[in-house]
Structures are given as C-alpha cells and as structure tokens.
Amino acid sequence: MVRLTPALVTTFVAALITAAAAHANPKRCVVDDIEHTVCLSQPAQRIIALSPGATELLFAAGAGNQVVAAVTYSDHPEAAKALPRIGSYNRFDMEAILAARPDLIIAWKEGNPREQVLQLRELGIPVYHGDQRDFKDIATTLNRLGVLAGTEMQANTRAAHFLEAIEHYRQRYSKAAKVPTFYQVWINPLMTANNQHFIGHALALCGGENIFGELPRLTPRISEEAVLSANPEVIIAGGMGEDDPSWLEPWRTYRNLLAVQRNNLFFVPPSTLQRPSPRLLDGIEQLCAHLDTARGRR
C-alpha cells in the first residue's frame, strides 16, 4: 500500500487542479487596455485592425498574415497597403466588417466611435481595445496580440527587443546635457505635444526638454508668441507627408530664435513618432541624432 505523504498529496491535488483548469478553460485570454478580458478558443485567423497603429502592431507581433482588413492610412509595413479597406478609423463600414467575418477586432479606444465598437461586441465578435500611452504599453500590447494570434514567440521577442532598445537609449542619454526643444505637431493651428504624448516620451528619452511638456492637454494649441518667448534651442517638425519639411521654413524669419541662429531646425517623418508601434525606434533614433547635432553646435 502506498503511504500518502503530504508532499505526494499536494502534488496530486495540484496536478488535478491544473488539469481541471486546462479542461474547463482551453482558451487564450488577455486583459485589454479597458480591463476587459478577451478570450479566444483558438488563435485568431481573421483579424481586423481599426487603426493604422493597430495594423503595425499586428504585423510586428508576427500576425500580419492573419490580418484580413484594415482602415485607411494603414501604410506600414508594405504588405499592409494591399489589405482590403473597411473605411477610416473614425467612420467605418459595419457591413464590410461583418462581411469579412473577423474572429478578432483590434479597436483603438481614443479614436474609434464607441457606439460602433460596442455594437460589434454585441454582435459577438471579440474586440481588443488598445490604448497605448508609453513604451511599456507597446511592448505589453505586442505580448498580448501574440497570445491572441498564437504568435507568442515572435511577439515576445519583438517586445523584448523593443524594451531593450529603449533601455539602451535611456542609459545613453540619461546624463546627456538637456536640450530645450519645441516639437511642432501641426502648423495651422500651431500645435505641439505635452510630456504624456509619445513625442514627449521620445524627447525625454533623447535628453530633450519639451518646452511645452507641462501643458495639461495632450496636443495643446499654442501661439507663435509662446514659442518665441520660450526660445527653444531646437525646433523639430512633422509635416503633411512623410518627407515634407516645409513647416520649418516660417521659423527662419525669426532671426533672434536660438534654434534659427544655430540652424537647429529638423524634420522627422511624423508617422515614426506619432504612432504607437515599434517603429517609434526609427523616430527616436533620428530625434536623438538631431539633438546630438544641436549639442555639437553649442
């Protein structure tokens, strides 16, 4: 007869519980950014991304082949351009979405119209709500999308690389001299980004000092006067397109600006700094290089 030692009993019970859990819940579950639990019984095979950022994240998580439709401006990576479109991120075609028979929808909490996202959920389609606010969120989202799409390996590797690269910049620039910087999000009206925005995070990472970082709104509208009185050492602008530095030209008329005197007017393609995706690393690399150039001109 077998003696039931306490250790043996514990092991046995633990095994039972694990087996029961696996049987009752053979699912891939993640908690999304609005604290909803999204569960799938098998890896998602037909995914729809409701924002350009979500499309990039899915491709980065290795689930690019499982994406069946996207919204307009989903232009990265190259393969995303060929995806069927179901409207724009703030007005999409419900019929086209249903007709694509998605088994997972990646929504954007801030951008998508809520009524329609809610309706999609009520129609029984699993919806993951994304709301990435910092670098860590991007990595977490990659991990979770990997679980939902069954591409954990690639997703986790990508997420880890992303965080490592961020950490690399953090260490490299933590002691670098601060550079007072103005980032121009839009020209008319003149808009910038505060420290909560990805642009703000990226500036901080490269040792920049966002002159409007403390403003309460994420993308504040400001006056030219405010820029002139803050007198930044560097001005960085996005633009209408991915290679359109024309927004920097108007600043050259202000010869008293430090940034103009030192010719520290730089262009960074907007999508590399404004979308929550691993491509932020491209934007950060350019940003850090520009700030280094500015330090060299002191």
Binding site: G87, D93, E95, A96, L98, E110, R114
Partner: protein, 314 residues
C-alpha cells in the same frame, strides 16, 4: 396612401441595399426567417434598425418643423430655430468631453434639448405677455449663445475627441442605438396631434382670428411648443442634429398638398421619414467603405426637389 407606399418602398430599398450586396432572394430568405447567419446579422441587426431609426428621426423632425412654422407663423422656422439642437449639442458634447458612455451622451442630449426648451419658454414668458415674436427672438438669441459655447468646446476639446464631436454635430445615424423610443414618440404625438388639426389650421391664419373662431389660443400654442420640443429632443437624441428635413419637408408638402394641417402633419411624418431613410442609404453606400453623414445627403437630395416644386408652383 401614395406617400405611405413610397415610405415602405424607401425602407425596403434601404434594407436591400448596402455595401455588401445581397440578392433580393437572400433578403427575402432573411425576412421569412431563414437565410445565412451573416445575412441575418446584416439585415436584422444593422440595416433594419438603422432604417427604422432614420424613418423615425426624419418623421419627428418634419412634424416638429411643420408645428414650429404654424406656431411662429414664419416660413423660416425649423425644429432648431429656438435653440433645441444647441442645448442638446452642448449637453452631448460635454458628456463626450467627460468620457461618458454612449447611453449617457444620448440621455444628456435629451435633457439638454428639453432644458433649452424650458429656458426659452420661461424667458420669453417673462413678466409681460407671451407673444410669438418674443418667443422667436428669445429662441434665436439663446440658439446663438449655444453656438458660441459649442465653438468654445470644440476649440478647447482634446484633439482626439474632435472627430467624434464634429460627427455628432453633423448628425449621423451610425449613432442610433435603438429605433424604438423615437418610433414610439412619433406614433404617440401623431395620435395626439390629429384631433388638433382643425385648430392648427385656424391658428395658422393668425391668433386673433383663431380666438374669434373660438380656439383657446394660449393653451394650443403651449401644447404645440411642448410637443414640438419633445419631438425634436427625441430626434437629436437618436441621430444628432440632422439639418434641412425639418425646414423643407413641410414646405414641400404645402406646395403639393395645400396648407391643411390635417393632411400636412401625417404627410410630414411619412415624407420626412422617407427622405431620411433614402438619404441614409445613400450616405452609407455612396463611397463605401467610407461613410458619409446623412445630413449631407438630405440637403443634396432635398434642395433640387424643393427648388423644382417651388419653380413649378408659380
């Protein structure tokens, strides 16, 4: 009768047409309780509720417009002239800024519209006599006040919420959650207004004449104001502020049917509803998968029709 069948026709078209093309046989199969699950979802969960909501909203706005035109004896009156849509918009945008769920936004819009109606009514009542000129002036001024508040909120609102706020202001049936409240309000007020048709006819000739003919003018005017406000509030709650229907549909019908309110009011319910159903169908299919706000199409369809009728009537 003609209008009623035209309305049914519009709803049928709206159910049969969408960005996913279904054959008539597919549609019929769904309506008779069969059909594929995807087709059932498309028709029963998306197209039919939306068509009914469009019908109810259009009907509500057209009836409210007809009532306002009688009440104010002013051809330029529409359901929004007294600031109802402004009040609704301010409340709705505030709740959007505060990040409340869609249901709360709808409730806020309804309360805002009714609050604005009560405010206008109270102020125009004032101490002196209650005349329609005072009512109109008070309403127009309060309406501009709301307009300024809306612009202010759009100017300071966070950029990422702006598209949603703008689309609400343009009026869009994508926000319609359930058609039933609007349909019920439309049905009930129609029942209440029908027996009042004769008195409305008399009132439209002027309050003195109406009083001379034995109509209790004051209570009648108040009930017109009250019911028009309720109708408009339900409409903006369903679909935001959709323009044009309330102004032009009653005029169109007057050109065709003559100025008999007993005929105009039910006809306005049907024609307004049909116009908006049609407009929304075009809005969601014209450049699919991109979606347009229905308000754009109501004006694009309505302006030529109205001008044609006006031109021919001379």
């Amino acid at each position: 009768m003609l209008l009623a069948s035209a309305t049914l026709g519009c709803i049928a078209v709206s159910v049969a047409v969408g960005s996913v093309s279904l054959s008539l046989a597919d549609v019929w199969a769904v309506l008779t309780g069969k059909g594929e699950p995807l087709h059932r979802t498309l028709i029963l969960d998306l197209r039919l509720p939306r068509a009914l909501a469009a019908f109810a909203t259009g009907g509500l706005l057209a009836v409210a417009g007809a009532l306002m035109q009688v009440l104010l004896r002013n051809p330029l009156a529409d359901p929004y002239v007294l600031g109802l849509s402004g009040g609704a918009a301010v409340a709705a945008l505030l709740s959007m800024l505060a990040d409340y769920p869609p249901v709360v936004v709808s409730i806020a819009a309804f309360m805002g519209a009714l609050g604005s109606a009560v405010l206008v009514f109270g102020l125009s009542h004032g101490r002196g006599s209650w005349t329609t000129t005072r009512l109109l002036l008070t309403g127009v001024v309060i309406s501009s006040g709301w307009g300024a508040v809306i612009t202010f909120m759009l100017a300071i609102g966070p950029t990422e919420r702006l598209p949603g706020m703008l689309y609400w202001l343009m009026g869009d049936l994508a926000y319609a959650r359930s058609p039933w409240p609007a349909l019920i309000v439309l049905g009930l007020t129609s029942l209440i207004l029908l027996p009042l048709g004769r008195s409305l006819n008399v009132l439209s000739r002027g309050p003195l004449q109406a009083a001379a003919l034995g109509v209790a003018v004051r209570p009648l005017e108040w009930s017109i104001y009250g019911s028009a406000s309720l109708l408009t509030a339900s409409a903006v709650t369903t679909a935001g502020s959709i323009g044009f229907v309330g102004l032009v549909v009653p005029h169109m019908l007057r050109l065709v049917l003559g100025n008999d309110q007993r005929l105009i009011l039910p006809a306005a319910a049907l024609a307004g509803g049909a116009l908006l159903v049609l407009a929304d169908t075009v809005a969601r299919t014209a450049i699919a998968p991109e979606q347009l706000p229905a308000g754009v199409i109501t004006a694009l369809l309505g302006v030529p029709t109205f001008l044609y009728l006006l031109y021919r009537s001379r």
